[in-house]
Amino acid sequence: MSALAHVPAASGQSSAPPPPPRRGRHRLLPYLLLLPGAAWLFVFFALPLLQLAAASLYDPAGSLSTGYALTWAFGNYPDAVQAYWPQFARSFLYSAIALVLALLMGYPLAYAIAQKAGRWKNLLLVCVVAPMFTSFLVRTLAWKTILSDNGWVVGLLRDVHLLGPDGRLLATPIAVVLGITYNFLPFLVLPLYASLERLDPRLLEAASDLYASGWQAFRRITLPLSMPGLIAGTLLFFIPATGDYINAELLGTPNEYMIGNVIDSAFLVRLDYPQGAALSFLLMAAILAIVFGYLRKAGTEEVL
């Protein structure tokens, strides 16, 4: 080590010595580079967040026309929970079910693309990402057509008696969960793909040589080695899915409304800013709690 360290010094003496580094500027440079991003974050994230925190503590009796007063009304929080806990629960339930469905589809898909697709790999990746080129709204509206009462999906399910003669998919929890699954699937597949793509197939051969059946090789080698992608994908799927309100709005009814819909209407319809802000903070807190619990449980210090 020390011998290596001497080499550049020795060669530096023989040729012209490099100009001494200007220390002061070097030390400041990283901060200068950070400045634009930090300013952006401050103006468009930190300040609004503070504003939102303040709004959540406004006097709930106020309104846009009469004006709001910051009365440190902590009661807004329990009130919001009491009024809307079903929507809270529904948000987590729907996104959890959607996550399970997405994992069942997404893991094999990511594995197939990463390990088995050969020269089709790039084409398949494009297929996964392609829907993103149209707007979220348009895609969800397309699902409205696909699941409509006179669409072929419902027709088929009626023919095989999985649905009753006037059974429907649209405006049911099923439609909302399917919509969420579809819309956020790429966020799960892409990080998983990145992890699985790095998996050395020779490790699976070695496992198989060492008495591991196909399932055991998956359980002991593939799964642990794809954990970083699995965790990242799960979070990228679950966090936006829980706060989503488009799917419930377009594919469901008020009976399927999730917390996102409530926050949306609190701000834009009912104009109840204190409640909307309190619900937003509660959602954020709940998701953060779940994420930290999950990361602790998954136990991958490499991720954090």
Binding site: R202, E205, A206, S208, D209, L210, Y211, A212, R220
Partner: protein, 390 residues
């Protein structure tokens, strides 16, 4: 060959390949291969890359399914068993250690998969066999190449397989470490008494370690035998030049002729003892190893009974233990001759007229393709370099 299994008593653990063939599309990687590897032996499959040796190994391991033929372990055909059902383990060329498990768990992997709970003592014993005591809690990435190689070995050996397969296990190590591991592997093989099947392209490695070497070329075995037999009496021109280096003179044999087969080459007459001749008439190569070709300055100095060729020294390289000469013959071929630097020999400068002579007992006679008229006096250019006298 016709797919018959020879009726013969085989000890329980002999590994036998019978008419084994593997085709990938139209390419035949392994072509009707049959051989027997006795239990407890150290067997090397030697060949250039692409000769089918690794495919053969993978068929024994179960990572590749044969197109046809059998892999018999004792009397059991294991050719169609899944790899995890075979009493065979592999040390992979890339080691393929599991990066997310520590060394102890890597080594214990096979035992755990077979439902064995208490593995600690066995793991410790194995790690000490490969001289890695105390490395249990390290990760593979924290180990050097040589250490990883030894972990891969321990991970395979802990399962007490009937056959251990080694796929170029020393390929990624530097020369010094490779020598050390060759000795180590040999020691461990003697200690555990398991059949080792070792695939390599390094002729020196094969000869140092194995009891029996099979030289493979284009999916077939060119020759099989003890390293010394292969070297001293190669069966084909390929073996003669893949295993070390040979001077092969194209000639015609006009036998049979009593104790010695008469050969005419380039207008001169030679003779090779019958027991050193693979055939006694038709196109042949007359072969002499460079270290068995001696140089003198005139014909009178050629010992009685030796045969000789006259020429001019065209190159002389001093390489420490020996001097390697190239001698240009009257008909334009260059013969290679190694003279050991014993301190009492005469050195010949470039341009000196010399006579190269050899004892006929050290020559050998090989079959030659009728079209191949040129001498083959240098190693095949597309083969890995040969460490002949180093």
């Amino acid at each position: 060959m016709g797919g018959k299994v020879r009726e013969r008593e085989t000890p329980a653990g002999d590994l036998r390949l019978v008419d084994l063939t593997k085709r990938f599309g139209i390419f035949t990687a392994v072509d009707d291969l049959s051989l027997t590897i006795p239990q407890g032996s150290f067997f090397a499959l030697l060949g250039a890359s692409g000769c089918g040796k690794t495919t053969t190994l993978r068929m024994i391991a179960g990572l590749e399914e044969p197109t046809s033929g059998q892999v018999l372990l004792g009397d059991r055909d294991i050719a169609r068993l899944r790899p995890y059902k075979r009493p065979v383990n592999t040390v992979f060329q890339s080691y393929a250690l599991f990066p997310h498990l520590d060394i102890a768990e890597n080594v214990a992997f096979g035992l755990r998969r077979r439902g064995i709970r208490s593995v600690d003592d066995e793991v410790r014993r194995m790690l000490s066999l490969v001289q890695l005591d105390g490395y249990e809690r390290r990760r593979p990435a924290q180990l050097s190449g040589g250490q990883q190689q030894r972990v891969a070995l321990a991970r395979a050996l802990i399962n007490h397989p009937q056959v251990l397969l080694l796929d170029e296990p020393l390929g990624a190590l530097d020369l010094k470490l490779r020598r050390q591991m060759q000795i180590e592997l040999k020691r461990i093989q003697t200690e555990v008494g398991i059949t080792f099947v070792h695939v390599t392209h390094d002729q020196e490695e094969a000869m140092t370690m194995a009891d029996t070497v099979a030289v493979m070329n284009a999916g077939r075995i060119e020759q099989l035998g003890a390293p010394a037999d292969l070297y001293e009496y190669p069966a084909t021109a390929f073996v003669a030049n893949f295993l070390g280096q040979s001077n092969l003179l194209a000639g015609e044999a006009a036998g049979p002729g009593g104790d010695a087969v008469p050969v005419s080459a380039h207008g001169a007459r030679f003779a090779v003892p019958r027991e050193r001749a693979r055939l006694d008439r038709g196109p042949v190569y007359l072969g002499v190893r460079p270290e068995k070709l001696h140089l003198v300055d005139s014909l009178d100095r050629v010992p009685a009974g030796h045969q000789s060729v006259a020429g001019v020294v065209s190159d002389a390289s001093y390489v420490g233990v020996s001097t390697q000469y190239l001698v240009r013959t009257g008909w334009g071929s260059e013969l290679s001759a190694f003279a050991a630097n014993t301190g009492s020999e005469v050195r010949f400068p470039v341009g000196a007229s010399v006579v190269a002579h050899w004892n006929p007992r050290n020559a050998f006679l090989l079959p030659r393709e009728p079209g191949a008229d040129a001498d083959r006096t240098s190693p095949l250019l597309d083969e890995p370099p040969v460490g002949a006298l180093s």
